[in-house]
Symmetry: C2
Subunit: 247 residues, 2 copies
DNA sequence: AGACTTTTATTTGTCTGACAATTGATTTTT
DNA sequence: AAAAATCAATTGTCAGACAAATAAAAGTCT
């Protein structure tokens, strides 16, 4: 790692960014595998010919992406982390949420993506859903029917319902990919005020979905999802127009 | 330096992790909006009652997630970053790739997810694809037909083809979500040796897809994708069995 | 010998203080 | 007025130190 005396700005960024990229590449390329221990911070600072704070900044970058974990103590150090779905979920949701809020995506576009992807799960979910998934869906529907539920709690329950639908496909890769699409919508949905009547309609459609999945009827579930998308979009449009008229 | 004397381990993690989480929450909650400037590192270290290196580690964590960018100089500092799709792509692909390789996901599972999601794009892509998307697909098919192309280059071209298909839906949210599903497959696909005959078959199916999209016929494109998935899975199984027989 | 305690070595976490590099703003000079 | 020099603020990097955690090693007692 020579560093070749860089006077002009480095395309890879700061030293800590370069070092982080170097280690990240090694992990992706499989040169470092799960639970491998990286050299100690002192050793790394010697190898890369930088100071320990710089190495530490690099390691924190990697830790932020859950690529490594660190442990104190005699046998401690930085270890290549086994990325679990739960950790990847969180990251994906954070990124997706900010992406939606920062690029003024319309509700129509976001809904289109979300429901298209969700509908991709329904045939699989209809075929494979367990009793557990169905029970979760029914439980969330029950919660959604309770009066006095706040809009936020209603949205959270809505997410849980759809998550059960997705998880029913029993494909962890799909569950992971869909996490961003479904959960990132929540801030957008939170803008909507759900009246008692609209909640009733949504729960009704949820019931159709749950019934169809229970009957392993993918087509009916698909149709209900299409109706749900249309209804959600129309609700959102009403809110936007009302807001425009007022403001 | 009060810090309320922490003797037991903090649930939020290290100081730098806590500070990073605190700032991240502020960004997600909208208290800090795009292009807002954070206080200088010195000011932050005073506010959080920690040293500057600790603040810097926190900022590097956020930079690794593309939540902030930093700039040197008199008017420099850390700014809330406008997350663009390109940056989010990279992160998603890195995470997805590692997730697949570390959780020994079978090729069948990964393919199932990928093609299910991709098929969710086809109706939209058939309706909206531009001449540009079609041209990209044809160009990649032409590249895939050239003899002497390495397996890796063939895979890369395959990804480019499918990316054009997805982008044809003209929905940036879908493009983003699909990036992980499509690109993360590449390392898995790179294990496959593509014979001249199998390449021919794949290009043929690609042709069917391109033709169908050009004719705005979503159903034919869907059928071709199903065939492509089945063919890919059978190729992968052959490779695995051959490897098992040898090893 | 075996179980318990103490010590020790290693490593990450944090702090302090310093200097270099960058860069926009300010002042001076032409 | 334009160009050049200076300045000030800020991030980037470094060196060295100490605290805290932690497991292994050494020592001690029964």
């Amino acid at each position: 790692m020579k560093k070749s005396s860089n006077h002009s700005a480095n395309p890879r960024g700061d030293l800590s960014a370069q070092i982080a990229a170097s280690i990240r590449d090694a992990i992706i390329a499989g040169e470092l595998i799960v639970d491998d221990r990286l050299p100690s911070e002192t050793e790394l600072s010697e190898q890369f010919e930088v100071s320990r704070p710089t190495v530490r900044e690099a390691l924190k970058r990697l830790a932020a992406q859950a690529l490594i974990r660190t442990q104190r103590g005699a046998t401690g150090g930085a270890f290549v982390n086994h990325i679990k779905y739960a950790e990847a979920y969180d990251q994906q949701i954070t990124t997706s949420t900010l992406l939606l809020s920062m690029n003024d995506i319309s509700i129509v576009t976001a809904c289109e993506a979300r429901y298209a992807l969700e509908r991709a799960c329904t045939p699989l979910s209809a075929a494979r859903r367990s009793a557990d998934h169905l029970a979760t869906m029914r439980a969330e529907m029950h919660r959604q029917s309770q009066p006095g539920l706040s809009d936020e709690a209603f949205c959270a329950s809505d997410v849980a319902f759809h998550r059960a639908l997705v998880d029913g496909a029993q494909n962890p890769v799909m569950s992971y990919q869909l996490a961003g699409a479904v959960e990132a919508m929540q801030p957008l949905m939170n803008m909507i005020t759900f009246t008692a009547r609209s909640r009733e309609r949504i729960v009704e459609l949820h019931g159709q979905i749950a019934d169809a999945l229970e009957a392993q009827n993918g087509e009916d579930a698909d149709a209900a999802l299409i109706a749900l998308e249309a209804y959600t979009v129309s609700l959102a449009k009403d809110v936007l127009e009302a807001r425009k008229a007022r403001g």
